[in-house]
Amino acid sequence: MADTPSHRFPREAAPAAEGARDAAILRKYGIEPDPVIEAYKRDVDRTLLRQNLARTPDERWQVITQALRLQEELRAAGAKARGR
């Protein structure tokens, strides 16, 4: 399933180009890209990170609050289903 088509942008759209761009940014600040970090980055959905960084602190707080509400609901539903 590693080769399944995906519409994740831009990670699968141009991973080599993105990797080269990231490496160029790091080198600009005198940092040599770490191959281990680069390998792990392939499996991190950085669109979420970028989206979060684009939010104001207030917006981030709202997202976390909503996420916590859903987490509480899911955990309670799961516990109830397990009879706890």
């Binding site: 994740r8 942008f9 979420l48 979060n52 684009a54 996420a67 859903l70 899911l74 955990r75 799961g78």
Partner: protein, 131 residues
């Protein structure tokens, strides 16, 4: 920039879309304390369900997350049929729609390993955690 997770659940369930909650949200249902900020669902690839999925989500302006604005992306039946996994931003919040899942396969393969939980007053199918 919305994060109306309740809205996402309500819209999908009320729209009769065949989905299973997977990923971080499913882990939370089984006790994980890890907080996730997007919703991952595996969806049935049947033509009927794809039509229902598109019709249900279209009003919430699905768009490829991380893509520059203005791309000619249309979330319609043809797009979903030709694609598989979509990481989307919508007016309700971030939403990952998976046609297949690594280690799990398709919706139909995952289905026997799910549990129905009542979430926000709706019956929602969630990936189970074997004991």
């Amino acid at each position: 920039m919305a994060a109306d997770f309740r809205g996402i659940v309500e819209v999908l369930v009320d729209g009769g879309v065949e989905v299973v909650v997977v990923g971080g949200l499913a882990a939370q249902a089984h006790g994980s304390a890890r907080l996730t900020q997007d919703a991952d669902f595996i969806y049935s690839r049947s033509p009927k369900n794809i039509a229902r999925l598109v019709e249900t989500l279209a009003p919430f302006a699905p768009y490829l997350r991380g893509a520059p604005p203005g791309l000619p992306f249309r979330f319609d039946k043809e797009t979903v049929q030709r694609g598989l996994n979509f990481t989307l931003t919508t007016a309700l919040g971030d939403l990952d729609l998976l046609g297949e899942m690594l280690g799990g396969g398709s919706y139909e393969l995952v289905l026997p390993n799910t549990v129905v939980l009542n979430v926000f007053g709706r019956d929602l199918r969630v990936l189970d955690h074997p004991r």
